[in-house]
Symmetry: C2
Subunit: 426 residues, 2 copies
């Protein structure tokens, strides 16, 4: 283990991914440990946007839908995401937001189940899942007026609650607060044994954790474009549907309910009747933002250039170093590790509970160590959340973050009024 | 009327909106009559995107959600759109696509009606409405498994079909093929007399035609950001809900069904239960693309800088000149005016049927006159569609377009193989 800042600099020198950091525009003096909330800016993004806006839009105008391949962007970027999640290139499309894609995927899964096993009425999810996952499930149960029930149970009890009443298992792969990671393959297998389908939210894993949806026989999945995929603030999301379900939906003439024209078999026939595309295009809805998709494509390219396996290897090293250094250098300063110690059960973030987590994080940010705060469970302390985006986080960043964390806690420099003020977005 | 190109140049010199054209980056040698399909690029857009991407995202990173006001963008841009459509600034939000917003608005309208008059089961729309409007309605009727029926009737028969069975009247204000414009106030009034609610699609009118949703007592509306609002390819759309319905939804605890976290009362409380925001924010769903919203804001600003009333006045002049010149100079060349001759019944486009509309339009585009083609009704000839975005279309453009149209038709220069080839996007 690195015992000094110099050791960390040495690790960075030998890091096979070191040059990837050079592909990002990062501000000086910032240790950015919030790439799990908003990924950093690839240097390739701005030149691509300039080309798109000035040449393709400004000069090419409407013709660029054909001439510049705009019409193919949702599938083209989707096919690139597919390589990161172990899917076939015709099983993923980039469109809309994670929330909207969750709505489409969950509605489609319930529709398939309603045809196959109408008595299954439970949407099973995890207590403490990311809120939008709960909200979308609640919106769908409310919409169907009691046909479905949402059951949320603790993450480590999921397996025991999958039974013949389960219609859909709706889970986030990596928990947004703790970083705890589910076993997609195992839980999908258990769901299938009970006749349930799965909808996986990969927002906190795509681009940071190796995924093999094909091997796991996953059914549906969605994920976020603006975290580890570096697609920019509010980037379009992706949606995955296994080819067998696409075929079943096609054979049974099922559509997902947000039946916008970009999901039509032939949108530019302008026909009166909605005929969904045979494949994954049926999960598109309205006209996609081409500017946002171009930024997303640059971000996805930045991940593909490194490869997920090397990224995971470095992420595990970074996190182990962080945990070890915090244990050594911040002992007795009120931090409690919330993330699993076992790296195989952890995504790419490390979280600590602290009684004064909010002002501590604000004080860290003021010193250039950018993580974020999340509320703890009711009555429990708040959470300091540190994300490790291995594309651009260095070993020396880990060292510096821990030193500043130790200083901040030891000197109680967080205990100042300006660090108490709440902000709209946390 | 202008009788020569010189007359048209004179009109441009005296045009009070002439300087607005200077705010757009338009390619040389192009007469762009397709701003109703994709608006032109405002010169302000690229500098704004550079500032957003390089400074706010690249340097400000996650902090820009607060520090750069990203979190306010959907409401801020929505309030600007509100000024263009006669709505209050707390009745409009920019989010998602037109299709997704149609889904949300139609579902909300049906939910309100289901509570008030559950026996109303008809969604009434127009034959030949824009396809995505039909498709979304079909998706919703399919989702509710027979609770609703979609009835589409010819545009001039709408009023006769509004009755006590009508739940929602779903109409596009300006027809995308013919340019025919409905009377929002009259039809909304008739709908209300029968107990129906209205969902207006303003995609082909916002930014080109004065709208007064307050005076019309409109219920719900959506519209497109990438046509006359110049927001860029696939720009976010907007959604309007009258304050009285927002209040009713709040009082009755109704949500629109795509219950994503950005529609929550307090998204960053990360609470477990979906509690929709009291106001128009409840029509937000997932995290919005901040890059796409920034481009949209520049486009909306370009319209606000001119004002809708002057734009409408110029649009009517441009169209009248076009119609008159075509009549004079293209007589006997197979063009049949499809758009209403009465300007009060016409949006900002002029359409002609022609037996060879497809190759004619391709030949026009090859000569720099960019309109677009739309298929006619079954068995009827195809349509040459010319949009007049008065922000940047000049009188001399009208003259040149008609001259090139006349040449192309008279010389049959469209009758060449390269103009027959179909393209994906028409």
């Amino acid at each position: 283990m690195a015992r000094s800042r110099a050791d960390c600099l040495g690790l960075d020198l030998r890091d096979p991914l070191a040059e990837q950091r050079g592909a990002f525009a990062l501000p000086d003096g910032v240790v950015y440990l919030d790439g799990n909330s908003l990924g950093a800016l690839p240097k390739a993004t701005m030149p691509r946007l300039r080309q798109l806006v000035e040449n393709e839009w400004g000069r090419g105008l409407i013709g660029s839908w054909n001439d510049a391949g705009w019409i193919d962007a949702p599938r083209r970027v989707g096919a690139k995401v597919a390589r990161l999640i172990g899917a076939a290139d015709d099983e993923v499309i980039c469109a809309d937001s994670t929330s909207v894609n969750l709505f489409k995927a969950l509605a489609a899964a319930l529709r398939l189940q309603h045809a196959a096993a109408p008595e299954c009425d439970v949407i099973l999810s995890e207590l403490g899942n990311f809120p939008t996952d709960h909200y979308i499930a609640q919106g769908i149960t409310e919409m169907f007026g009691g046909r479905y029930n949402l059951l949320t149970v603790p993450g480590d009890e999921i397996a025991y609650h999958i039974d013949e009443g389960t219609a859909v298992l709706l889970l986030t792969h990596v928990n947004y607060r703790t970083g705890r990671m589910h076993d997609i393959e195992d839980l999908t297998h258990r769901a299938h044994l009970s006749g349930a389908l799965t909808v996986w939210d990969l927002s906190h894993s795509a681009g940071a954790v190796p995924l093999d949806l094909a091997r796991a026989r996953a059914d549906f999945a969605v994920g976020c474009g603006y975290k580890y995929l570096n697609g920019g603030p509010g980037a379009p999301a992706f949606v995955f549907a296994a080819r067998r379900h696409l075929q079943a939906m096609h054979a049974d003439r099922f559509a997902q309910p947000v039946a916008g024209w970009f999901g039509h078999r032939a949108p530019f026939d302008f026909s009166t009747e909605y005929e969904p595309a045979a494949g994954i295009d049926r999960f598109a809805a309205g006209t996609p933002s081409i500017i946002a998709l171009a930024a997303l494509e640059c971000g996805v390219d930045s991940v593909l250039a490194a490869g997920v396996e090397p990224l995971r290897a470095k992420s595990l090293q970074l996190m182990q170093l962080f945990i070890d250094l915090v244990e050594q250098r911040c002992a007795g300063l009120g931090l409690q590790l919330l993330s699993p110690r076992d790296p195989s059960q952890r995504g790419s973030q490390v979280c600590y509970a602290h009684d004064d987590a909010w002002p501590v994080m604000q004080a860290l940010v003021a010193r250039g160590v950018v993580g974020d705060y999340r509320a703890g469970d009711a009555g429990a302390p708040g959470i300091l959340r540190f994300g490790f985006a291995p594309l651009y986080v260095r070993f020396v960043d880990v060292w510096d973050a821990v030193e500043i964390l130790r200083d901040t806690l030891a000197a109680r420099s967080w205990d100042q009024p300006q660090f108490q003020a709440r902000r709209v977005v946390t």
